[in-house]
């Protein structure tokens, strides 16, 4: 999948459609999706993305969904359940993958690898998470010896981010300034209708319990400020910490889906591809350095594709924590003006398994709107991993 390689159309993965739900807060009383199941959110975006793409459903081979909490309503290989819920033909297979926060970017990457290998032709990929119904810290029993080379503290992503902030001198104020900016950009994008195309209408419930059409991300605020953030207590490290609810991504519910196929198949079906996939990379880092994952993953991807960071026009860097995003921007020398131009997960929300497909969806729409050529989506992943995907816009 290299940039320069002259890959045959049958082995060139392209995206023909992508969409997402608005992201709800995971809140038992106020969450817009508190009465909507995660699999329902997934089915809604899968159904819609197939419709929008115009792909012949009988040609879809597999549905690959990312989800980090694969139990309850997202258990038992939820991807296959979503095939049935979304009314896709029985012939569409389904598999659910888990790379924690990178799950749906992983779903996308492996579909691309299969196409690039000439093994598969048409996939629907995506991700889903319902952090209210399926909290991330329950029903997990990691083997204690898995901590023998690290420590149990790595289970707290917040502590790893605190550590990153402390070691790199990223002040609370700097983090808050970054978070305010994330909200400002997202609110502005909503004001200008920039999310209209990517967000699929789903019914949820407002605070009073009445149904409501959910079209806007619930956590985005247009009224936040440094002063409002300054009064919050540190959440992970009482008193001493620098990270508060404002500078950590909110717990969220949501889903996103993408249709990916070979360029040859898109042409055969008369579909207009949006982007070509240039390359992907995953990497492991010390678990305590979880937040640095994107740095290692992006470096690997750049080496692999021969592309320089300066050539990339648009970057979606998942904001698990402001501290971690700031570290990556600094370390990779990213141009802040090209990063998360429509706000990031600090504002929009971070439904873990859905976030990869969410940022890729936002990236592709931003590239389309801005007629930008090269786009990068990258994320940090708990337990010390990074993932990155590079795409190139196909000019219509």
């Amino acid at each position: 999948m290299h940039h320069t390689s002259a890959r045959s159309p049958i082995q060139t993965p392209v995206v023909v459609a992508c969409c997402r739900t608005a992201i709800g807060r995971s809140h038992p009383e106020r969450g817009l999706f508190r009465q909507v199941r995660g699999d329902e959110l997934a089915a809604a975006v899968v159904k819609e993305v197939v419709n929008r793409s115009g792909v012949d459903p009988d040609t879809i081979e597999d549905l690959v969904l990312g989800a980090t909490q694969q139990r309850g309503e997202l258990g038992g290989n939820v991807a296959r359940a979503v095939v049935l819920l979304a009314g896709l033909p029985f012939s569409v297979a389904g598999t659910t993958v888990n790379r924690l926060c990178g799950s749906s970017l992983q779903a996308f990457s492996q579909a691309c690898h299969a196409i690039a290998a000439g093994a598969e032709n048409v996939h629907v990929v995506g991700g889903v998470e319902h952090m209210h119904h399926l909290p991330m810290d329950s029903a997990i029993a990691i083997h204690p010896q898995a901590f023998a080379r690290s420590s149990r503290g790595i289970l707290s992503m917040g502590m790893t981010a605190e550590h990153l902030a402390a070691v790199n001198g990223i002040s609370r104020r700097t983090q808050e300034t970054y978070a305010v900016e994330s909200h400002r950009k997202a609110a502005l994008a909503f004001d200008h209708g920039l999310f209209e195309d990517e967000i699929v209408s789903v019914l949820g419930h407002d605070e009073g319990g009445a149904i409501v059409e959910v079209l806007e991300d619930q956590s985005v605020r247009n009224d936040t400020s440094l002063a409002a953030m300054a009064v919050l207590e540190p959440v992970f490290l009482p008193k001493l910490g620098t990270i508060t609810a404002a500078t950590a991504a909110p717990l969220s519910d949501g889903a996103a889906a993408i249709v990916v196929m070979s360029l040859a198949e898109a042409q055969r079906q008369g579909l207009e591809p949006l982007v070509r996939v240039v390359g992907t990379a995953v990497v492991g880092v010390p678990p305590a350095m979880m937040g640095t994952g994107p740095v290692a993953a992006v470096r690997k991807l750049l080496t692999r594709t021969g592309i320089a960071i300066g050539d990339i026009d648009c970057i979606e860097l998942n904001e698990a924590f402001a501290a971690q995003a700031l570290y990556c921007i600094d370390e990779l020398r990213l141009d802040p003006a090209r990063v998360n131009t429509r706000g990031g997960s600090l504002a929009i929300g971070h439904p873990l398994g859905a976030s990869g497909a969410r940022i890729l969806t936002t990236l592709i729409h931003a590239m389309r709107d801005g007629e930008l050529s090269l786009g990068l989506a990258t994320m940090c992943i708990g337990f010390g991993q990074g993932i990155a995907v590079l795409v190139e816009r196909i000019k219509a």
Binding site: P144, Q145, A148, S151, H163, P286, A288
Partner: protein, 745 residues
Amino acid sequence: MPASVPLRRTQTLTWLENGVAMLSFRVPDQSHNVLTAEVLSDLAATLQDLLAGPVLQGLVLVSAREGSFFAGADISQLEQLPDQPAAEIERLCAAGRSLFGQLSSQPWPTIAIIDGGCLGGGLELAISCDFRIATTREQTMLGFPEVKLGLLPGWGGTVRLARLIGLGPAVELAVSGETVDGQTAVRMGLVDACVVPERAIESAQRLIAIEGATRGFLKRRQQQAAAIDLDPHERDFLFATSAAVIMGRTGGHYPAPMMILETILAGASQTAEAAGPGEGEAFAKLASGPIAAQLLRVFRLGERNRRDIGIDSRNAQTPIPRAPGQAESQGYSARAVMPLTRSVIAPAVIGAGIMGAGITASHLRAGFSVMLIDLDPITLAKSVGGILDEAAWSRATKQTDSARALTLAGKLQTSTQLAAIAGSDLVIESVLERRDIKRQVLAAIEQVVRPETVIATNTSTNPITRLAEALVDPSRFCGIHFFNPVRRMTLVEVVCGPDTSDATIAIAVAHAKRLGKCPIVVRDSPGFLVNRLLMPYLHESVEMLRGGIEAKRIDRVARAFGMPMGPIELYDMIGLDTAFYAGAVLSEAYGDRIEASPVIPALVRSGRLGRKSGTGFYQYSPSGGQRARIERPDEGVAELIAPYALPVRPMTDEAISNRLFLPIVLEAVRVLEEGIVRDGRDIDLAVIHGLGFPAFRGGVLAWADSLGVAEIVKRLEPLADLGARMHPTEGLQAMARTAAKFTQL
């Protein structure tokens, strides 16, 4: 049959088949195996003998005591450490390390069978062997409780543990002092297998056969001897996060946890051999410091309390009343070895309010069937859900175990009729804190129950003597004062009135222990013991508020002293209305020292009742209930205090601290002088468990001794103008002159 040789006083050697020897430990004159000097010297001699003898296939270490491997070091030897020079302590550590080190330098594999408690030095011994097999027995618990005594594992434990299970997990285990069972231990890699007790020896032999054949034990030895290769990022993260957690938990008052963290990390980068002396040095530093000495003493206070039957032995032969016609064999006898401890079988609780419900739940938790009475059917019905929730609460899962709740529901009987307690042998009355009501209820109880039934009242403010007047037979009556919340507060005051019999006290004390509580016997006096010591402290904090000292500052000084929260926060927690009533009782009794402060009723009148009303001295965040965060001092309070303002006194933090804590010492001295407690040690135990007085200071009397009585008197001098409450008693002045001490460490 394998031959067994009683080799030495503490050890027996048994020859198993295939050249495997088994060394069994039984330490005489101790209830558990502990690592006495004799055990260590015997072990050294035995290892010498074995080396000189025929080649073994392996050596198995096992305890000959069922349900216990080694409970740890010999506490009485630890107690002597503070008097020894650091170099001598380090020499003792080195000797222990070297002896234990021999267990993994034998020509054959060594293996410990851990079938029962394996703590502290016992676990150091076990992890010095090449392998370990734990059993599934309930008593099989492994851990390093040294930290709770202000110490660290000093016989190579920190060094070996980190190599065995990894740095992070080692820090976690040794810093927390918590224990793990056999199954958990095998998952952690602390032991190599966990089997049913009866297959342990067989399993050990199999492991020896496998490891002997593959020479796997030599690989293990290499791993245990080498430095630990840890990613520097992980190392820094481990240190930073652990240090933050430790500082959060200890407030910097307890040096051992931090020392353990530092010792484990420092030892990791060296070979085990090189790391040993650093551990010994750290151990010596802790062992010769004042905090370990205090914590050891507090540990001893707890042990003493567990053995104390609540009455002095000279009275222990007093016969207890027996029902007419009841045969001696039916439960208790005046001639039995411990004639006064009769087990309660059918307890009853009267009153289903917060305290009654808590007391009932603690009975269910302890396995009792209990009868709960409340005349109001609605209160009664409402209380049941909460009682079962609390009784079936699982600390492990942090939620109610619903299956257990269902079982316990069968053990909880409720009735609105007092007649239902006719068969009870202990009745705990816990109705409203109103003397007239309590007296009525107590008299009614006496009408219903059998003559030998013990009747107790749970009260914090009513004199037992007054309540006893309501009874025909006051000898069977006492106070059992539980603290709120009952599930968390282990302290219980058993209060005796002038007529309370020894038998009644002994039964109440034994019963409190069966509830898992720590009972202290006190003579009836207003406020009993704990509230009497608490009130001068609370009172003084409000006096300082009136003198213009900020609430936050007072609380900060108290926390810095080591209290879990400051007095002003505590007022809000207790509830200002509750504090007002309790204060009124005490000021009536001790008016010369504790005047009823006008500030508290002023706050109550303004609707500031503390946490429960969202505002008291402080304002609380609207959500969070009892855990709500303090948002800021309530601005209206200053206005309420203004009419009662006292002359402003410039105060240093040290002066604030003296004003808060010296009155507790003075009150404790009066308690001693009045003979309210049977032993001064009870005071120290009570303030630690009942007031949260810092354990590292050893309790209020131990703290006084650490300053010296003369110093206490000196510090009181500049406060003398505050009134009688700051004046030393004559007894205290006499002690100051003779440099006498309250306690003996």
